[in-house]
């Protein structure tokens, strides 16, 4: 089941998580960019027309909710998957309210991540 190549932005402050997501999600045909905080993520999407964004909700420099809104303002068509270890339920609800298209709880399996991504790209 091969999907069309995508432009993907991976936003996470953990290098390990960024690598994991990249390895799990990306096909050789995809274009991938990464950012380690919200500010860099916003800078990235100015020149990079991301179709799919995975992002951690708790990151340094800019809180994930603000970053989420900013991303959608610049790239309204981007599909956003929020990946978070957050136990704080109100923030999770807020993320969906502000436009996140999917939500995945850390720690996640590669199967769960792939499933979320395919769900996200489906519609």
């Amino acid at each position: 089941m091969k999907r069309a190549p995508k432009r993907i932005l991976v936003v996470d402050d953990s290098d390990l998580i960024r690598r994991t997501i990249r390895r799990t999600v990306a096909t050789p045909e995809d274009t991938i960019e990464t950012a380690s905080n919200g500010v860099d993520a916003l800078k990235a999407v100015v020149h990079f027309d991301a179709e799919l964004v995975t992002m951690d909700i708790s990151m340094p420099l800019m809180d994930g909710l603000t970053c989420l809104e900013g991303l959608l303002k610049i790239r309204p068509n981007a599909r956003i998957l929020v990946i978070s270890a957050l136990k704080d339920k109100p923030t999770a609800v807020e993320a969906v309210k502000r436009g996140a298209h999917g939500f995945l709880l850390k720690p996640f399996s590669t199967e769960a991540l792939n499933f979320e991504i395919s769900e996200l790209l489906l519609n």
Binding site: K89, P90, A92, V93, E94, A95, V96, K97, A100, H101, G102, F103, L105, E119, N123
Partner: protein, 528 residues
């Protein structure tokens, strides 16, 4: 409930029909027919109602359907009535229910969440994943007015009609049992971690001293308990404040005693714990007015302290078991010999050699700890050397007419006239290779080429103790860096003022003998 209402309505239709019988005679037949139909319909509805009651009574918890304004349309329940029914009335709106049972922040989140449930632009899967109400703590008042803490799990499902989200099905389930179990599990995990930390904190303490501490602390805690219980503090008035202060002084003395003993034994956990307790008592003592509630805090702190002390006691008993086991093992033999045997077996296996250690009569348990350490270092070094250089492979040994299994013989050299500890270590390997040592000594500059013919074999043997001297071509962890015999000389001769002799016969054996003076190196040096 709604179904019953419908049935009565159908029955009521016949009343106006009867009152107009005379004028509308022609319609009588039709009305009666209708009546009969309505009766049949009512019967059918009644049986459906019973059916759904049977189904619903098997549902644990609460089933609701809410409309887009969160109004509760239908409500089936056999549990949680006191959560959803205020004063016996069914709450008309789910928001009202939630406002009653949630904190303000969670209520706001839940209101947002209900909006997401009805928002067609949000995918149901995603929305269901961030359910903030999957475990809600609620204070429930039972029928006899006793409050209890319950955990309620809410779940939601969209009902789609004509392509739109018309309503949402809400289930509320009492999951107190599961939630409580989970919390117990977490508590006991925490308890384990704490016990482990306690254990680390008492390992350095002599078991008897520990027993003493437990006993003393128990006595003092009992006295504190007595002081706090002795009078009814809840009826304390300002006139009794002096008496209460007096009691606090008593508590202070006792806890201070525990603290002193804890710090003496370096039981840091209990030292700190007693210190915190002391601080609490001091704070109370300096407060203007005292009441019963103030003492409640102390009673709680006391229970906490006692629980830690109980843990300590349990650990102490377990520890005693371990220590006994260790003592029993020690009486079987010298654990140093056991360790050396293990080491020899490990190295031999690695080098493909076969060896047995004969240490009959060798025992270091009577030695002072520092001397024992030296013997240990020396033995480790000699065993490594023997296996790396002296002892041949089983095949080589067989070819040389020796048993395949080599022997390292460690035995004491007793001398009644002296307190010095003397022993020898002998292997039945190939012995020192004088030619090779001589050659290496020249190569490494230890021996001037001009002197080669002058030195005899006994001087040759002394070269092996020089730092960095080795006959091996390659260094491994077992031998070859040439520092091993230098360490032996350092320990025995330089530090203790002892003696080493070497005796070897090519192809047959190599033996080292040591004398470790009972006096320390510095004393030995001063006496010289």
């Amino acid at each position: 409930m709604g179904l019953v209402g419908l049935a009565l309505l159908a029955g009521g239709l016949i009343l106006p029909a009867r009152s107009a019988r005379r004028a509308l005679a022609s319609r009588l037949e039709a009305t009666e027919l209708e009546n009969a139909r309505a009766g049949a319909r009512a019967k059918q509805l009644e049986s459906e109602r019973r059916e759904s009651e049977v189904v619903l009574s098997s549902v644990r918890g609460h089933l609701m359907v809410i409309d887009p304004s969160y109004h509760i349309e239908r409500c089936y329940s056999n549990e949680l009535d006191n959560v959803f029914h205020q004063d016996g009335r069914v709450s008309e709106n789910l928001l009202n229910v939630l406002q009653r049972i949630l904190s303000e922040r969670m209520f706001k989140t839940s209101r947002d969440y209900l909006a997401l449930l009805f928002d067609p632009s949000k995918k149901e899967r995603t929305v269901l994943k961030v359910n903030p109400l999957d475990e809600v703590e609620v204070d429930v008042m039972s029928a006899d007015g006793v409050p209890s803490l319950r955990y309620i799990h809410f779940s939601f499902r969209r009902i789609i009609e004509a392509g739109a989200i018309s309503r949402v099905l809400v289930t509320a389930e009492d999951v107190t049992e599961r939630a409580t179990l989970e919390r117990h599990l977490r508590d006991s995990e925490n308890q384990k971690v704490r016990q482990f930390e306690l254990l680390i904190g008492i390992l350095h303490v002599d078991p008897e001293a520990l027993d003493g501490f437990v006993q003393l602390a128990n006595e003092q805690l009992a006295a504190i308990d007595q002081a706090l219980k002795a009078s009814d503090f809840s009826s304390a008035t300002s006139g009794q404040t002096a008496l209460l202060r007096q009691r606090l002084d008593l508590v202070l003395q006792r806890i201070h005693n525990i603290k002193g003993n804890a710090s003496l034994l370096r039981l840091e956990h209990f030292d700190q714990k007693a210190n915190e307790f002391e601080q609490k008592v001091c704070d109370l003592k300096h407060r203007g007015a005292l009441g019963g509630d103030d003492f409640l805090m102390l009673v709680i702190a006391l229970a906490d302290f006692r629980s830690d002390l109980d843990s300590l006691q349990i650990l102490r008993v377990k520890l005693a078991g371990i220590q006994r086991a260790v003592e029993i093992r020690e009486t079987v033999g010298d654990d140093l010999v056991t360790a050396i045997r293990d080491l020899a077996a490990t190295i031999a296996k690695k080098l493909g050699k076969e060896v047995r250690i004969d240490a009959h009569g060798f025992d270091t348990r009577g030695l002072p700890a520092d001397r024992r350490l030296i013997v240990k270092d020396v033995l480790i070094q000699l065993i490594r050397n023997s296996l790396a250089h002296g002892i041949e492979s089983p095949d080589q040994r067989e070819a040389a007419g020796k048993p395949r299994l080599a022997t390292i013989d460690i035995h004491p050299l007793p001398d009644d006239a002296s307190d010095d500890f003397a022993f020898s270590v002998r292997d039945d390997g190939r012995g020192l290779d004088a030619a090779k040592i001589r050659q290496r000594a020249i190569e490494s500059g230890l021996l001037a080429g001009s002197r080669v013919e002058e030195v005899d074999d006994s001087e040759i043997a002394s070269f092996i103790f020089a730092p960095g001297f080795t006959t091996s071509d390659q260094a491994t962890t077992d031998a070859g860096r040439g520092m091993g015999m230098n360490i032996v000389k350092d320990r025995i001769v330089d530090r203790c003022g002892g003696e080493i002799t070497v005796n070897s016969e090519v192809g047959r054996f190599c033996e080292f003998a040591f004398v470790l003076p009972a006096k320390s190196a510095t004393l030995a040096a001063a006496a010289r």
